[in-house]
Amino acid sequence: MLFGRKNRKPIAIPAKKVKEWKYTTCNYCSTGCSIEIGLDEQQKIVTTRGHAGADVNRGKLCIKGILEHELFDSPGRGTEPLIRDKHFNPFEPTSWDHALDTTAEQIKHIQQKYGRDAFAIVSSGQLLTEEFYTLGKLARGVIGTNNYDGNTTLCMASAVSGYKRSFGADGPPGCYDDFEHTHCLIAFGSNLPEQHPIIYWRLKEALEKRHFPLIVVDPRVTMLAQFADIHLPITPGTDCVLINAMMHVIINEGLQDQSYIDAHTQGFDEVKALVQDYNPKQAQHVCGIDEDTIRNVARIYAKAPAAMSIWTMGINQSTHGSDGVVNINNLNMVTGNIGKPGGTSLSITGQCNAMGTREWSSCSGLPGYRYLENEADRNEIAEFWGIDPEFFPKQRGLSQTDIFAAIETGEIKGLWIVATNPMTSMPNTARIRKALEKLDFLVIQDVYQDVETNQYSHVYLPASVWAEKEGVHTNTERRVNLINNVMPPYKNAKPDFWIFNQMAKRFDNGQMVHFPETPEGAFEEMKYLSKGRLGNGQPRLLDISGMSYAKLEAAKGIQWPYREYEVGLKGSARLYSDGIFPTPSGKANLLPIAFYNNNEQPCQAYPFWLNSGRVVEHFHTRTRTGKIGNCNKFSPTAYMEMNPDAAQALGIEHQTYVRLTSRRGDAVVLVQLTQRVPRNMVFIPFHFHDCVNRLTLGLLDPHSRQPAFKQCTTRIEPICQAEAARINAERRTF
């Protein structure tokens, strides 16, 4: 008898002793999960939990969210502003005043000497929306540079561009609830279980209630591809061919929703004409998906009462990114799947507040989806901010990816980088390194002072993170959600909002333009600017005027549009349900997308496709998750998935190092042999510094200027194992 011991041993289970739960939204990806932070009696953060009543995550969190509270006092955080006159000299701590004064002086100096646009600003998708709005006001209205953009160019620019081209405006028209209503879902280059586990769970819940065909287009056999009813292992970069071939089948078999096309779109004839060139018979040889499968998938999709497409970086990070998005939109318009429950064209966004920066940062124009190119927009904003409309440029300046090229050519002399790490995230690291080295003045504003880009800075401004601040995020389904300020900033770090406000005070225009003291004050300005009508007379879609911090917390997030007079706490689940689009004609554009192949292709010298992507335990350049042991341990160093058959031919063994070379540079990685990847492709997670982006080409999409991270080529070479191990250890300081 194993029971019935007289003396049971005591049971001790760690008790968190939470005194108070505070509501926030996760600061990692764009899913927008509601998190409650638990504080003990001493107001110390002891735990987090998903908010069970939040519609987005319904209590669930992924690994990153579960452990997110450990990041506040992780190693490498910035404690004091730092300063130096040359990037090769050591930093010295300094006061905030001195750091900000120096930065302002340098900005003015560079602008006076080389022109206003010689100083550029690159921001992020990681800040809070009020901070984006304030930075936009600072950049456009006070400092006055046209070379101001966000790192969202690396992830969502193609989606933005594609939405604008198809529908006349940015903004994902669907929502997670569409999973509950759809009858067929195609995921293009989207690996939900790894990238967006909570969105995957919402999809899984829907599938368990009512199965519908799941079709996954991905050259890798991801978990989602494995679970799909039909997996299309496509040739990299040929999504447009596949979609055109599908539309060929749909249109030629008369499966299109002609009444929807006639009522709500324009350009059908051009598309119909173009897709005649994409007979599946020929298309199969380009995209690598056989004719029968193309026909089968096209028919399933077209015949479904409601069908939806989701996509992520597999589409966006391509030389055809914007075209890919437009073509997915085409597919959905042709089949009548826009703005209806279960029928949508939903980009799954990357960063927690990529949407916030798209909406309010003025990166691509002016706040609230306004355009520099539009005179009325310029006048409206200039009037509201209290500046001369002529201060604004009349056309958008350089995108983030072009800013680095302009540093190369000497057009840009000074740069302010906020919450992004181009030394790790940009393609072709060597080129970025060279560019940063050339700058007369670089200021880095980041949570971590060990962020790799900081090695080239002259001033470092330590920023607070997540719940050390207050403000809102917008998620993939346009849901605005609240982050409460839970704790004071770390040491002498400051909220980005405060930094922008202080910087504004140091410029002439900053004396004229009103900068509210609190994020909520900025939110009120955004609300005001979100009201009104578009040029075509339709009410603005990005309308948040009905929202307030109190409502956002009570509702656990509200989807825009949510107008002033709205009753209840439910925003708008979908856009364009009425079939009216924010184009001049009110109709959506069906645009013919011709395919041309400008990707670097595997060849004799570089025989492998190089693919990159995310792993679930890390976020972006690992500045946060690399410090949290219970995240980092699942991939503490860089690795490469490689096909065992290909490895055997080259004599490469599992769990040994290889050196990769490309036309840009080299990298050292540990080999993981798996049949998940085809023989002519390798896959490397992009999170690691001095790794895959030493190799990537990153050709830019002509519309979105987004780099094609996922389509370039590489060669695999042997390397001395001891030497490789040394290099690997050196490059993984965290």
Partner: protein
């Protein structure tokens, strides 16, 4: 700025001060301050865990269903209602963290278990991180881990992730094996819980568990493990890992229940060790077809192949090719104390028991030796070696100062019994030494040198007491307890989860080494004794030579049998043997060759010695011949010493347990070692613990 307030929101949200500085944290936003008031979700539930506001259905355990026939007996015939199985009253408190409240879960006396839908697991680590977050585990420790097996060929590739924690078995081998009684299988939920405060960090539970559930923390020097989240269970919530699952793969409930929306309830999936070992309380659904062969990405040379019955069985995966290596430095490992412990103790046993039993059996030279003054030093030597061995075993503990807890589980643990046997062996040896002392010339001379006249008192004492026969009794008791210790030492290694050890070869090795090492040590002492008294050495030498040879042969027979078994074995034992024949191939062959050479040489020497004796017995015995003879025996003994040290080091280093498949980094021993070698492990965020404690 004014804030819009709305109905309903005002109660939840305390009013905010519009113009407060941005980084002032004192704003209260959630009404947790009115804690004394019981939230709606907590009503009718005990206070062991705070149920979340608006908790979702997935987090709650199903309500009890009295009509459920499947909840009477499990598939192994064991009652599921644990109160019926014990004399314990229902409604006892678990005293979690000293809390006397009784849980409100109405099923709390039923055996619970995990249900894993292998079809669904996406390997997202949510379960692992929820567990580590709840239990405050550092990166290098995890109560739950996800590994995977994969197979097929692109694009027909399948990966099956496996999330595994403790299975709270019907037959908890950890509980039985633990010498300190740190484990309790509770009549509440059937939870097998372990108390780290009792544990002394021997790690034996980590040896016997087939699922790698108990976690030995080298930093803290103690084991801890999955606690089934009994605090959550008490209020009717599923464990944290289950509630966190994002793939709808992990579930939990009364065992043998198939959860809603699931259609299978089986006990094995590829990569999961045989449920026969412990009758684990876990059930699976795995309906999707998998490739015939599923391999592991970690460095274990094991893969799984589908048998004709559809079940996946382990087979050896020749990951390192067939090349043979030395890898001698790898034999120097953290198991060194155990190599020394077992060898010292076995040598000590032989050292005492061989001459003692020889004398009892009436062999003349042994009788002379036992009566000689050098018998006492031999007993002391044996005692010293045993003590040294036990000391080595104590240094192997994570918490060495708790060594005395090692005898707490005599009822079940072979380790406790081994310890007791060896402790008694030492005690009786000490007693024997004490009784030998009065008649020992050395002791008497020492006493005389003190000049106190103690030596004469001692000799009168000796005259009155029947010390000689008492020495025989204590010697017999020492031998008996020593042999019992050796028996249980062998039993410690007869572990189903470690097939490399679970073989009679372990016994032959222990006995053979006792004989060969014992013959060596006691032979030296006895030959000195005979030499001092100028008695002929030949007979004693031959007797010891014979014992030595028997020891070698026993060991060799065991190794032959082991090799034979393992060559045919496809499980983890076969995999360990594959490592033995490749990674350590040259070392293994060297050991075997040395053993063979030794056996041949020793047999030759015995035969030649006999011939020598017969042919030259009439002639004067040559001192030169005798010393040559001695030198040869001494060399053979030294060769044997090398052989047994290599053999024992291989024994510990090669064993491959029936653990769960790991991932590429996490739970991959090969990567852990590499991270230590190149310095990645110096960063605690790598999650690889330093080995030393």
């Amino acid at each position: 700025m004014s804030r819009t307030t709305i109905e309903g929101a005002t109660e939840l949200v305390s009013p905010k001060d519009g113009d407060v500085g941005v980084y002032m944290p004192e704003k209260t936003t959630k009404a947790a301050s009115n804690q004394p008031e019981v939230e709606q979700e907590q009503k009718g539930r005990s206070n062991h865990w705070e149920v979340r506001t608006q908790e979702q259905a997935y987090a709650y355990l199903p309500e009890p269903d009295p009509g459920n026939k499947s909840e009477i007996e499990n598939r192994y015939g064991k009652r599921i209602d644990l109160v019926e199985l014990t004399d314990n009253p229902a409604g006892r408190s678990l005293f979690i963290n000293g809390n006397p409240e009784v849980g409100t879960n109405r099923d709390r006396n039923k055996q619970h278990g995990f249900f894993f839908t292998a079809d669904n697991c996406i390997g997202c680590h949510a379960c692992e991180s929820a567990c580590s977050e709840k239990n405050d585990n550092p990166a290098h420790l995890a109560f739950r881990s996800v590994g995977y097996v994969e197979g097929g060929s692109y694009p027909d590739y399948k990966r099956m992730n496996i999330s595994m924690a403790c299975n709270h078995c019907d037959d908890p081998v950890c509980l039985k094996g633990c010498p300190t009684r740190a484990y309790t299988k509770h009549a509440e939920y059937g939870a097998v819980l372990q108390d780290p405060e009792t544990c002394f960090g021997c790690g034996y539970c980590t040896w016997v568990c087939p699922y790698n559930a108990p976690q030995l923390d080298p930093v803290q020097g103690r084991v801890s493990k999955c606690n089934m989240c009994v605090d959550r269970l008490e209020v009717g919530l599923k464990p944290a890992c289950v509630s966190a699952c994002v793939g709808n793969a992990l579930d939990f409930g009364v065992i043998e229940n198939t959860p809603e929306n699931r259609e299978q309830c089986k006990t094995s999936i590829p990569g999961f060790p045989s449920p026969e070992i412990t009758q684990p309380n876990i059930r699976f659904q795995q309906t999707k077809s998998l490739p015939e062969e599923m391999s592991r990405t970690d460095d274990m040379p094991v893969k799984y192949r589908k048998g004709s019955d559809g079940q996946y069985k382990p087979v050896v995966d020749q990951k390192n090719g067939k090349k043979m290596h030395w890898n001698l430095p790898k034999l120097n490992s953290r198991e060194n104390p155990l190599v020394l412990f077992t060898l010292l103790v076995q040598a000590a046993l032989g050292t005492f028991i061989i001459p003692f039993s020889g004398a009892l059996l009436g062999v003349e030279s042994f009788k002379q030796f036992m009566a000689s003054n050098l018998f006492l030093p031999l007993v002391l030597l044996s005692l010293g070696m045993t003590s040294m061995g036990l000391f080595m075993s104590v240094t192997h503990l994570g918490r060495p100062f708790r060594f005395y807890r090692g005898f707490n589980n005599l009822r079940y643990s072979p380790m406790s019994r081994e310890g007791l046997g060896l402790a008694l062996f030492s005690a009786f040896l000490g007693l024997t030494a004490l009784l030998l002392a009065p008649s020992n010339i050395g002791v008497n001379t020492m006493l005389a040198s003190l000049g106190l006249g103690l030596e004469s008192e001692l000799s009168s004492l000796v005259a009155t007491l029947p010390l000689e026969s008492v020495v025989v009794i204590t010697g017999l008791l020492a031998s008996a307890s020593g042999l019992a210790g050796l028996y249980y030492m062998n039993q410690c290694y007869q572990i189903k989860a470690r097939p490399f050890w679970n073989h009679w070869q372990t016994a032959t090795s222990f006995v053979g080494n006792s004989l060969s090492l014992g013959a060596m040590v006691s032979g030296v002492v006895m030959l000195i004794s005979l030499g001092v008294e100028s008695l002929p050495l030949q007979g004693a030498m031959e007797s010891y030579g014979a014992v030595f040879l028997v020891g070698l042969v026993i060991e060799a027979v065991g190794l032959w049998g082991h090799n034979r078994t393992l060559n045919r074995s496809e499980d983890e034992g076969g995999a360990a043997h594959y490592i033995q024949c490749t990674t350590f191939g040259k070392t293994y062959q060297l050991r075997n060759a040395l053993l063979a050479v030794n056996i041949l040489a020793a047999s030759g020497l015995l035969i030649f010695g006999g011939f020598f004796e017969v042919s030259e017995s009439l002639a004067n015995q040559s001192i030169v011949d005798e010393s040559v003879y001695l030198i040869v025996w001494a060399s053979l003994s030294l060769i044997n010493l090398v052989t047994v040290v290599i053999g024992r080091a291989l024994f510990y280093n090669l064993v491959i347990p029936t653990t769960m498949p790991g991932a590429f980094f996490w739970k991959n021993k090969g990567f852990e070692q590499h991270a230590r070698d190149i310095g990645l492990a110096d960063n605690p965020a790598t999650g690889v613990a330093p080995l030393a404690h």
